[in-house]
Amino acid sequence: MEPVISNDVIMPGELLHAFQQRLENSGGVVSFTGQVRPVNSSGIPVKHLHLQAHPTLTRGGIVQAVTEANARWPLEAAAIHHRIGDIASGDTIVFVAAASAHRRAAFEAADYLMDYLKTRAVFWKKEVTECGAEWIEPRQTDHADFSRWTLEGPRHARH
């Protein structure tokens, strides 16, 4: 399935329903939904996030990550929806789903795709609070999470 990168509101329930409707032989479906937390890590209320994407690099990288996931795990389907623009506190930023005959493959593929999105996907993220706006970069733990996939598994991650 083609990744969706859009300013439109993401409705995870509807997306999960539509994703499962298309499946034919999957025993397990894992979804991840990422939402804007109302309070940032310093305890300051967040008004919104602003997400910027590149018109070609962002989609190209995500398509490659989905291809990589399909090479590593026997997936029936994988879906990625990523919102851009201004995203209010509580709204959904990202929805990822992975379906496979076996649940471990679905869990690991969704986990991998999220680690990719957090650390390698071509987005820039600005957090807007009452105190101003700040560009946010991946945390050390996000990079450590992604590195799990380069040290193990049937194939090495590119990048």
Binding site: H54, L117, A121, V122, W135, I136, E137, P138
Partner: protein
């Protein structure tokens, strides 16, 4: 004329998201370009920082990479979505 775009925080730092410039003959690769733009735009090292990567014609490049006057160049600060 070469089109230079700045993404994420770099647009804030440079003060614009797009800059069109005629590069002098001395600018033959990305290393020259970084130094040239730093000076031209009066910056404080942001474009010299290798954490800010360069894409040429929508491909992230391994540097130093050769440049043509017709290239579209993008400066990309560290990425991350989700």
């Amino acid at each position: 004329m070469t089109e230079i775009t700045f993404w994420g925080k770099l647009a804030d730092i440079v003060g614009t998201s797009k800059h069109t410039v005629t590069l002098p003959d001395s600018v033959q690769d990305t290393e020259n370009l970084r130094a040239f733009l730093e000076n031209e735009l009066g910056l404080d090292g942001a474009l010299r920082d290798p954490a800010n990567r360069i894409a040429i014609n929508d491909q992230i490049v391994v540097e130093p990479a050769a440049l043509c006057a017709s290239d579209r160049v993008a400066f990309l600060p560290p990425v991350g979505g989700g």
